[in-house]
């Protein structure tokens, strides 16, 4: 196990390098640059823009730019944003916590709801199963954007039970209840898609688990149906779901873009969209590398958990 861990950790390095090169090339391949938005400004002369681009090092050849960036990154200097003229670390720090809160909350809600729904989907009467199946199909198809707006319209504008957006009531001091009240709307909307997907996945895994021989043995031993399903079948069916969860790691950074926009949630998703439009390379490179690290770490965690949970798997 230990050698496996070491090998996996070492393998992360070339992966990250390859990812960074790919992202770098893709970003710079998009036409236009960080100075594009100023071209329409009556106070700006094209000479000014060329001067600015040169000062940001954008006229150097790509390999030079990349190596400069890499060197800075490795020494902890994540660069200065073109748009905000602030160190990138500060910008990310402001937004990251907000997104992490939101995504974690949605993952918690999704897990808590998806598991019972998945179990029900596999074990109740066929009619109910079909109803649950259709509902989850609906859940998978609903676009987050639309759902977010509808939730806002019904619960915030008409019923006035939810706030109209943001993380906290403006001007008020920190209060946990206030924060949770603001978190409910976006977290539920974000969770809906996952609940639908995961419950379907869990249902099929559960059905497959229930066809196994050990289930018959358990029933033969005289265990109640509830114990058979929840204690034996479910534990085995849950394992692949945990892998899925691990793969959600990358989403902790950029996965809630649309929901954040609709609910005015000050998170990373919006930052990414704005930075893409503005071609703010330092912010973009740092954000995407962070996502890559989280995806890789999540993958590793998922693999390890699977190995721990399923004794049949041996990692070496």
């Amino acid at each position: 196990m230990r050698s496996y861990l070491v090998r996996r950790l070492l393998a992360i390095i070339p992966t990250l390098l390859a990812v960074s090169v790919a992202i770098f090339l893709l970003l710079h391949a998009a036409p236009g640059g960080p100075m594009a938005v100023y071209a329409n400004n009556p106070n700006v002369d094209p000479e000014d823009l060329k001067r600015l681009e040169a000062s940001l090092g954008l006229h150097d050849p790509y390999p030079v730019q990349y190596v400069k960036w890499l060197g800075a990154m490795l020494t902890g200097n994540w660069g200065i944003s073109y748009k905000y003229a602030r160190p990138v670390g500060g910008i990310l720090g402001d937004r990251l916590l907000a997104t992490v809160q939101l995504v974690l909350a949605s993952l918690v809600i999704a897990s808590v709801v998806a598991i019972p729904v998945g179990v029900l989907g596999a074990t109740t009467r066929p009619v109910t199963q079909r109803v649950i199946g259709s509902l989850s199909m609906l859940g998978v198809s609903i676009p987050t954007f639309w759902l977010g707006i509808v939730v806002l319209l019904i619960f915030s504008v008409r019923l006035r039970v939810l706030p109209s957006g943001g993380m906290a009531t403006i001007g008020a001091d920190f209060a946990l209840t206030d924060r949770l009240w603001h978190l409910v709307g976006p977290a539920v909307v974000l969770a809906t898609l996952e609940i639908a997907g995961w419950s379907r996945y869990l249902r099929s895994m559960l059905l497959e688990a229930m066809r196994q021989d050990y289930i018959q043995t358990a029933r033969a031993k005289g265990l109640s149906e509830a114990r058979v399903i929840l204690l034996h079948a479910l534990r085995n069916a849950l394992l692949p779901l945990i892998t899925l969860l691990g793969l959600q790691g990358g989403r902790l950074v950029g996965g809630a873009m649309i929901t954040e926009t609709v609910f005015s949630w000050p998170g990373m998703g919006r930052l990414l969209v704005e930075s893409l439009a503005a071609r703010d390379y330092p912010v973009l490179m740092a954000s995407f590398m962070l996502m890559a690290v989280l995806v890789l770490a999540g993958n590793l965690a998922a693999d390890l958990t699977y190995a721990v949970g399923d004794p049949r798997i041996r990692l070496d």
């Binding site: 036409p31 001067r51 403006i170």
Partner: protein, 751 residues
């Protein structure tokens, strides 16, 4: 079926201004309705149709010439027969004045005419205004036993009467006559007076007056006098209520879809950043809602007349206000202004635009309250630039290097001299600005706090306007206008902006280097219809770069109006013949053009689809290509790698148009069209070399005539700036060429 006479006055006027309705049509429609119903309701007693028709024709001509139109331009008005109308019989409802035609209008009627109203005729009145109905010896016959047909919804009669209401202080009478406030129905059982005794179809001949009419009018009945006095009192009360005094205190929440980046104009490209900068960082002068300069930190706007600008335009002197303090208590002096100038030119600070500032050879500060800018070459729009520049505090940034200034946190937490003090910025969420207690205008700002809330989704922002979570919103998208109009707690203020939307044409790419082809394309689509239909009348069609409010606007340039026949003829002339598939061909090449469009807004696609359809009729194929902002402005336009591109063009209030028309070889130039004309260059350079408005205006107008004929760009429209205000917000005045917070120190809230 809806007729022009069924429109509300506001709607009709708007359509007239947008060229969606002709005053002639409107007048004819009203005349038709009057003729249809007046025999039954007897509302109109004298008409002056011929004169009205002539005025309507003149009004129509004024619209087509693109003149600035007064508020009631082209609207038909009925004048109550108690008010004198020049040359039109005015009887005051009395037999005594049966042939009386005044030789001048009353003040109110004169004002209505001046505002563009077209008088259609005189409406019925009780004798000398005494009484609550229109029964008088003139127009009433003994009561008819047959009552009028009553209806619960507004009858056409009531509407005819409604059309004929006047703005006199005695209008509450006409309200009684035409059914309680105009929109109500005709009360059942009401007696109708029948019009039979008098011919209303001809204008009465002019007759000279012998005596002062008001003298006679009041002398005759006591009740007439009483009613007149009551009306005057009501009128007085109304004006008092209208001019409320500002109330100090309260908070305003402003909603924006964009978040600011750095709160100082020269280092940002975002309007929202300059807006907040306007609230916190004052500038030497300001621009008001009439596009005039106003003093701010300077006590006087420098002009040629007052000597603030030297005769050769190379020396500007500003006298600074005494006693102004920065938000941290330090005194504001001329050293701060000189320092700001050095920051702009500092190569290590990433100021985006130095246009104009780099013509200043030195800044002199003879004392703490005088600043002199000495130029090496004339920068004609300099005052516009000064109005847009917030002054930096030397005591905060003065000792730092350029690189340190660039990343300094002042740009995220500014200390300024403006009406509001920066308090807090929660990234992604909101900014808080509080009242500056030491602001140099006494008693202002009225507001205690402004919260600048960031709501990135336009629909969510609309929701918040509806619930009152947000009080104000600028630049409302056109799709939401109809929704906002129905909300009870907000008002919508629409002003034409000075920013034109246009289609750039790349003159370096054939066939667009051919003037006739460009003219054909201009003739090939119907701009007025585009404005009225797809854009819902929320725009003003544009035929040139400068908007009508600009002092150098040219109403007389040639306009290539919609004329598909002419377009086809021009294309035939240039050798583009219709091919088999309906698209013109020449030398084996098809006349197919690609129009780049910034993706994201449905309305833009609709506009281009409209043009695409119409160009199809003249044999031109247009392909619409969606690109993003970075591609269009970073690559396609600056490098001229496009055929046509549709977007807006950022403009200063100053009419300087070198960025659009000066040849690419001359600097500075963002002439993305690649247009080059030596005569235009000469005119523009001469106009920019002086600060004398008359000379500049002459030069710009001549240049505009040439470029209009050359069809350098296909101008489309000026979008309206749509501002949504909660009804509690007072004091807002739109500023088409400037940020909308220019007078935020005068805003106040009612509760």
């Amino acid at each position: 079926m809806a007729e022009p006479c069924d429109l509300t006055a506001v709607e009709a006027r708007r359509l007239i201004g947008a060229r969606g309705l002709s005053p002639v049509e409107l007048v004819e429609s009203c005349i038709g309705r009057i003729e249809q119903w007046n025999p039954h309701v007897n509302a109109v007693v004298t008409t002056c149709y011929d004169r009205a028709r002539a005025e309507a024709r003149a009004a129509e001509a004024a619209v087509m010439r693109g003149e600035a139109l007064p508020p009631l331009h082209g609207l038909p008005v009925g004048i109550k027969d108690l008010d004198e109308t020049e040359g039109v019989r005015t009887t005051y409802g009395s037999l005594l004045f049966r042939d009386h035609a005044p030789d001048r209008d009353s003040l109110m009627v004169a004002a209505i005419r001046r505002a563009g109203g077209i008088v259609l005729g005189k409406t019925n009145t009780p004798e000398f205004g005494a009484g609550g109905n229109t029964n008088n010896a003139w127009w009433a016959t003994p009561p008819s036993p047959a009552p009028c047909r009553a209806s619960s919804r507004p009858s056409p009669a009531a509407r005819a009467g409604e059309l004929m209401r006047t703005g006199s202080g005695l209008s509450f009478q006409s309200a009684m006559e035409t059914g309680r406030g105009g929109a109500g129905g005709w009360p059942p059982g009401r007696r109708c007076s029948r019009l039979d005794a008098v011919d209303t179809r001809t204008d009465s001949p002019h007759q000279s007056m012998e005596a002062d009419m008001t003298h006679h009018r009041l002398a005759f009945t006591g009740s007439g006098l009483a009613i007149l006095l009551a009306a005057l009192a009501l009128g007085g009360l109304a004006t008092a209520v209208a001019a409320q005094t500002p109330r100090a205190g309260g908070q305003l929440v402003h909603g924006s879809v964009q978040e600011p980046d750095r709160i100082w104009g020269p280092v940002t490209g975002l309007t929202v950043s300059t807006e907040i900068s306007q609230l916190v960082n004052a500038s030497l002068i300001e621009i008001n809602d009439r596009l005039e300069y106003q003093p701010s930190l300077a006590t006087q706007v420098p002009t040629l007349e007052n000597g603030g600008i030297s005769k050769d335009g190379l020396r500007y002197t500003f006298t600074l206000r005494k006693g102004v303090k920065w938000h941290d208590g330090q005194p504001f002096t001329s050293a701060d202004v000189a320092f700001t100038h050095t920051v702009i030119l500092n190569p290590d600070v990433d100021v985006r635009g130095r246009v104009g500032w780099n013509k200043i050879s030195r800044v002199e500060t003879p004392d703490d309250h005088t600043v002199v800018f000495q130029f090496s070459a004339v920068d004609a729009p300099f005052l516009d630039r000064v109005a847009a520049l917030g002054i930096l505090p030397k005591h905060v940034l003065g000792t730092l290097s350029g690189a340190e200034i660039k990343t300094h946190k002042w740009f995220r937490a500014p200390v300024g001299t403006g009406p509001f003090v920066f308090k807090e910025w929660v990234p992604g969420s909101h900014l808080v600005l509080v009242k500056n207690p030491g602001y140099w205008k006494p008693g202002q700002p009225y507001l205690d706090r402004i919260i600048y809330k960031i709501v990135p989704d336009a629909n969510a922002l609309l929701n918040q306007l509806e619930t009152g979570d947000v009080d104000t919103r600028l630049r409302l998208v056109n799709e939401h206008i109809d929704v906002v109009k129905k909300l009870p707690n907000v008002t919508l203020v629409s002003t034409p902006s000075i920013v034109p939307w246009l289609i750039w044409v790349n003159h370096t790419v054939p066939p667009f280097n051919d003037k006739k082809v460009r003219q054909a394309l201009a003739h090939g689509f119907d701009k007025a219809r585009l404005a009225a239909t797809i854009l819902g009348g929320h725009v003003t069609p544009a035929w040139q770069l400068l908007p009508p409010v600009s002092w150098a606007y040219s109403p007389t340039i040639v306009r290539h109006a919609y004329d598909p026949g002419k377009a086809r003829a021009l294309l035939d002339e240039t050798g583009w013949k219709l091919g088999g598939d309906g698209v013109r061909v020449r030398d084996g090449k098809r006349l197919s053009v690609e129009i780049a469009n910034i993706a994201g807004e449905q309305e833009r696609v609709q506009v281009l689809s409209f043009i695409q359809q119409q160009w199809k009729q003249i044999g031109v194929e247009a392909r619409i290509r969606a690109v993003d902002v970075g591609s269009m402005w970073g690559a396609m336009l600056p490098k001229r790698q496009y055929e046509m591109a549709y977007s807006y063009s950022g403009r200063l209030p100053d009419p300087d148009m070198s960025t659009h028309y000066l040849s690419p070889e001359l600097k500075p130039s963002t002439n993305f069209a690649g247009y080059s004309n030596a005569e235009v260059d000469r005119l523009l350079l001469a106009a920019n070399a002086t600060v004398d408005r008359a000379t500049r205006k002459a030069g710009y107008q001549k240049a505009q005539e040439i470029v209009a004929d050359d069809v350098v760009y296909l101008f489309l429209y000026w979008l309206n700036n749509n501002t949504v205000l909660n009804k509690r917000v007072q004091g807002y005045k739109p500023a088409p060429g400037y940020t909308e917070f220019w007078n935020a120190d005068e805003w106040w809230v009612t509760k």
